[in-house]
Each structure stands twice: as structure tokens, then as C-alpha cells.
Point group: C2
Chain length 362, copies 2
């Protein structure tokens, strides 16, 4: 008995560490369900999360349930089982769903026992969701020991889920604020908005010519949208200056790729996007900024962005000069292949222009 209790506690301790080792909500939900199923020896396990605003429960993650059930299930306070658990904030061990006067309903075929466990996810006495467990693999009903164990896991799960929710929601808001910032920059400098769109079009096309993966292309697209973020720190009069920039002003401009990356760094989910943004002014020969990286040291996405960024800048009117023609810009890109730009990327970019001459015309 004591040994059993010790084994249980060792498990709870391990699971607790496991659950709290991530701040990504999706990961945490998966870890919770996997561990709970394993421990309860159950075939079906699901986490329902409560939306505070709508007061609705929906399935955050499930094992052993069909995709359409996961997607469509909605429950409310007071509904049978999960709704009851939310309303009362108490766990539930139902021995026989067909005869329990509170929830009496014909057992659905997918459940081969009539017994189930439903435990609330409690954070400081507030219910944030429910974990439901059905179908013991032994085909026997759940026991009081099972319930105690499920409660133990749920206590730790609730904390891990709440932390991940807070972190994820902070990340979301941060990202929204970053996007508000890009709009603010677009408003400051009307050039940047259509510039980002053009560069994105070129960069995605070039990446496809180079046979990069969908994930890599997505990262490049996101980097195009965010690459000039750091210009928020550059005073307006430098950004829009029509005369030649002084060395000092030029230094301030040069900081923008570093500043963009600094703003984005805490958004871990952006991953490679941050490197691409930081390195989009590095040169293939190592003479770029901010770190003087060279060749393959520079992220492939950044090497692509460098070519496309320059091409769009050259073919657009800027405060300090008129736009070059497309042919002139192409000649310039070719001239800088191997020094400023990666030759492979230049080749791919030129192939893109050849195949889609209309791409550079609007």
C-alpha cells in the first residue's frame, strides 16, 4: 500500500516536471493527455478548455476521439458531466452512466465501459477546464484510486496549462503590437508598405526557384513583412532625407536590422524569421552589417532577402534619387553577384524574372 503510494508519487513528480517543461499551449496539452492516458490506462482522454467570455467548453486536445468530434464539441456550464464539473468545481467518478440519476443517458457504443472520470482544472479555485477519461484498457470500471490519481495529475496540469495560456496570450499580443508597429512605420514612410509587399513577392518566387521547403518559404515571407521594423528607431528626417547621408546618419540606418531582430527576439515561435531579419544586410563577401557574416554563414533566407530588397529599392523612386529601369537594376544585381550577393540566389532571382517578366512591372 505504501509502496503503491510511493510509485504513484514518483509518477506524479515526474509528470509534473514533464508538464511544466514547456510554455507552448499545444505542447502542454499534448503532454498532459499523453501522461494522463498512460497513467489511467485509458483509451480516450480529452482536455476541454473554458472560454471565459463565451463560457463555452471546447476540446483543446484529445486522444482516441474522432477529428470531427474534437472540432465540433461545445459544452456549457450545467451540461451533463463536463458542464457539471465546471459548475461544481469538483471531480466526478461515474460508475455507470446509464443509471447515474444525474447524467442518465444511453451509453454510446464507442464506450465499452459505462464508467468514466471527469476532473476540473482548477487555478486558484477557478475552473479553467476539464479533463475527461473514458475506456480503461482493462475493460474494467475506474476506481477511487484512479480518481485520486487523476486529481493529482489535474492539479499539476492546471498550473502548466495556465502558465502556457498566459505565455501564449502574451506572445499573441506582442505579435499584434509588432504588427501595429509595422503599420506605424508604413504610415511614417509610405515607401515601406508597398516595398515589403514587392520584396515578399520576389523573395517567395526566388525561394521557390531554389526549391526551398514550404516552411522556409513561410519564414521568408514573414521576414519580408517584418524586416524594416527597426526603422521605428531611426528619426524621420534621416529616413526621408534627400541629400547624401552623413557617416553618423548612415550608422543609425545600419542599426535597423539589429533593432528589428531585438524587437522580435522574444517571440521564440518566429524561429528562423528573426535570423533572416537580422542578417538581411549582410553581404556574401563578409562586408555587410551588423555582424560581417559571410557566405553560407548567412541564413539562406537573408541572402534571398538581400537581393530582392536591393532590386526593389533600385527600381523605386526614393527621396534622394529617381528609380533605375529594370534592365539597369538587373545589370547592377549581376555586377554584385559573388561580392554583395550569393551567386546561386542571383541566378534563381534572374530565372524568376525571365519566367515571369510581369512580376517586376507592378
Amino acid at each position: 500500500m505504501v509502496k503503491e503510494r510511493t510509485r504513484e508519487l514518483i509518477l506524479l513528480y515526474r509528470i509534473g516536471k514533464d508538464m511544466s517543461s514547456s510554455l507552448k499551449l499545444d505542447e502542454v496539452l499534448e503532454i498532459v493527455v499523453d501522461n494522463m492516458s498512460k497513467i489511467m490506462d485509458s483509451e480516450i482522454c480529452s482536455i476541454l478548455l473554458l472560454d471565459k467570455n463565451t463560457e463555452e467548453l471546447s476540446i483543446g486536445y484529445a486522444q482516441g476521439l474522432e477529428e470531427n468530434i474534437v472540432r465540433q464539441t461545445r459544452m456549457r456550464k450545467g451540461d451533463p458531466i463536463s458542464g457539471w464539473v465546471v459548475e461544481h468545481g469538483e471531480p466526478l467518478l461515474v460508475d455507470d452512466i446509464e443509471t447515474d440519476p444525474r447524467f442518465m443517458k444511453k451509453n454510446q457504443e464507442k464506450y465499452y465501459t459505462k464508467s468514466l472520470i471527469s476532473v476540473p482544472l482548477l487555478v486558484k479555485d477557478e475552473v479553467i477546464g476539464v479533463i475527461n477519461i473514458n475506456n480503461k484498457r482493462t475493460k474494467t470500471p475506474f476506481t477511487k484510486d484512479d480518481l485520486r490519481f487523476a486529481k493529482g495529475v489535474a492539479t499539476e496540469a492546471a498550473i502548466a496549462i495556465e502558465n502556457a495560456r498566459l505565455f501564449t496570450s502574451l506572445e499573441d499580443s506582442y505579435m499584434r503590437t509588432v504588427l501595429a508597429l509595422t503599420s506605424a512605420i508604413d504610415a511614417k514612410d509610405h515607401y515601406t508598405k508597398s516595398h515589403s509587399e514587392h520584396v515578399s513577392k520576389y523573395a517567395v518566387g526566388t525561394a521557390m526557384e531554389l526549391g526551398l521547403s514550404d516552411k522556409q518559404i513561410e519564414d521568408i515571407k514573414e521576414a519580408c513583412r517584418l524586416h524594416d521594423l527597426g526603422k521605428i528607431g531611426v528619426p524621420d528626417d534621416i529616413l526621408t532625407k534627400t541629400d547624401k547621408l552623413t557617416a553618423n546618419e548612415w550608422d543609425q540606418i545600419k542599426l535597423h536590422s539589429l533593432k528589428s531582430a531585438e524587437i522580435l527576439r522574444p517571440l521564440i515561435f518566429l524561429g528562423d524569421v528573426i535570423d533572416i531579419v537580422e542578417q538581411h544586410h549582410e553581404r556574401y563577401d563578409g562586408a555587410g552589417y551588423p555582424h560581417g557574416l559571410r557566405g553560407e554563414q548567412i541564413h539562406m533566407g537573408a541572402r534571398i532577402l538581400a537581393v530582392c530588397d536591393s532590386f526593389d529599392a533600385m527600381t523605386t523612386d526614393r527621396p534622394y534619387r529617381k528609380a533605375l529601369s529594370q534592365d539597369e537594376a538587373v545589370a547592377e544585381i549581376k555586377k554584385c553577384s559573388g561580392s554583395q550577393f550569393d551567386p546561386k540566389v542571383v541566378e534563381a532571382f534572374l530565372r524568376l524574372l525571365e519566367k515571369n517578366p510581369e512580376i517586376a512591372k507592378n
Copy 2:
């Protein structure tokens, strides 16, 4: 023996929950040290955190150490004890600091045993810090059981500390980005910058007249700096329009206090600041926006901000009209006392102007 182990595990499980129940770094460090001291029955316990960039350890939180030691202690990889633990990523039970060949040094007087424990804080095999434990209250040396227990606590502590660090660093970056956003708005609309400064001056003065606490005054100051954040969402041509606004344009302007609050909401540490920002266009009679709150339902800070915001707007040239004189603005504020404004706040504000006539002159 098994019973002892069970007791230990129950403790570890409880402490784990306790540690992970906060994402505020300061709180987590305090919880870790408190729990560790209690369990190890120690008089002195400290957490040293490793700065990745400088590779230096400094004390994040301590119990039983003097303030100046906490502030000044710096250690590096390879230094005795803590530096050794960081370098090797392994825990350390020193029986006698005076004879252990690795660390031999005269025991300082404040330690009445020569035995100590030092355990690494490991996150995915990376050392993020060290916990040091000295002086068992029983005045006996630490044992191998103590060491095992300390390792258990440290494993959970490391996860909790790392999560809190990630969260806190995300909050910091978010706040920096929010401040970059306020600069962007100042740049868009030159009126807002000096406006925020003026409003802050009036609001702090009024709050002092009303005898509010230092914390309340700090919140109001921060709210003044952030109250127009949501204007980032309002198109420039509406913000700077010289003609009368259409109903639709006015609706967009009205959204700004809600948008400001939305951007700030995830920054939990801002607390009341968010309410003040959200409610600064509510009216005392309930006819304001965004929620139509009335009287005491409106945060005191927001009631103060409402008066000061209006006064500064009236006494400043705006695109659509010239500034009123100070006397005219005062008359208008008095006229709106009890309808738009809280009479108590109006009184305090007028007292402020009377006592400091120069405050409104620049």
C-alpha cells in the same frame, strides 16, 4: 525507509506546485528559497543566476545573508563551490570546507558548520544557476539524503525559474515595444508628446491634492504616458483633420481608449494602469465611452485623467481650432463638474492651479 521516501515525495510534489504557480521571477525565487530552507532546515540559502552573456553568477535571492553580500557577490565558472557546480553541472556535498582538497579555505565565522550543499539549476542540460545551502539549524553536517532532496527541489526549481525568466523577458520586451509604439505615435502626431507630458504634470498634482498614495500616483503617471497608445489604430487623416469629424470618424477616435487597454492588457504588471487608460474617456454622469461607467465605478485615476486631458486639449492649438485661454478652459471645466467630471476631482484640480499658477503656463 519507504515511509520516509513517501514523505519526501509528497513534499516534492507540493513544492513543485508551489514553485510553478507564479510566472513572476522575483516571486518564484522567493518561493524556491523559502521552500528549500524549510526542507533542508537551513539558516542560509541563496540562488545565484548565471548571466549567459557575461558568464557571471550573481545572487537573485537569498535568506540569511546580509544585503551588501547579496548585492555585491559575483562569481565565475571555475570559482570555488558555485563556480565548480556551474562548470561541472553537478551537485556538491562538501563535508568539510576546510579540508576538502578542491575548495580548501578557512571556514568563515558566519558558517557554524563546515558542511554545505550546492546544487546546479539545470534546464535541458544547461546550467542556468546554482542554489547554495549552509548552516543546518541542528548544527550537524548535511547528509547524502539532504543532497538527494536538494537535487529534487532544484530540478523543479530550475523549470519554474526558467519559465518565469522567459515570461518576464517577454514582458520586458513587450513593454519596450509598447514604448517604441508611443514614440511612433508622437512622431505621427506632434501634439501627443507634449500633451502626455502636460497631462502627467496636471494629473500628478491633482492626485497629490487628493492625498492619493505613492503607488496610485505612479500608476496615474504611467497611464498618462500610455493613454493615447490606441491612436495607432486611428488613420492619420482623421487624427489631423481640420474639419468637423463625421459620426463614423468620431467612432474610430472613440475606440482609442479601448485599443490602448487591449494592447496593455497582457502586461499584468501594469495592474491599475490599464483600467485608468481604458476609462479615461468615461464621464461622471455615465455618458462617456467605451463602457458608459458612472461615478465611483470609474477608476479614480481615470477621473483625474479625464479632467487633466480635457484641460490640456482645450488650452492647446489643435488642427480644427485655436486654443482657449486658461480662464476660458477653467470656466468650461467648472461648467462640466458633476456631469462630465467628478466634482471632487475638479475641486482638487482647481486648487492645484490656484496654488501653482505657473503650472499651466508652459
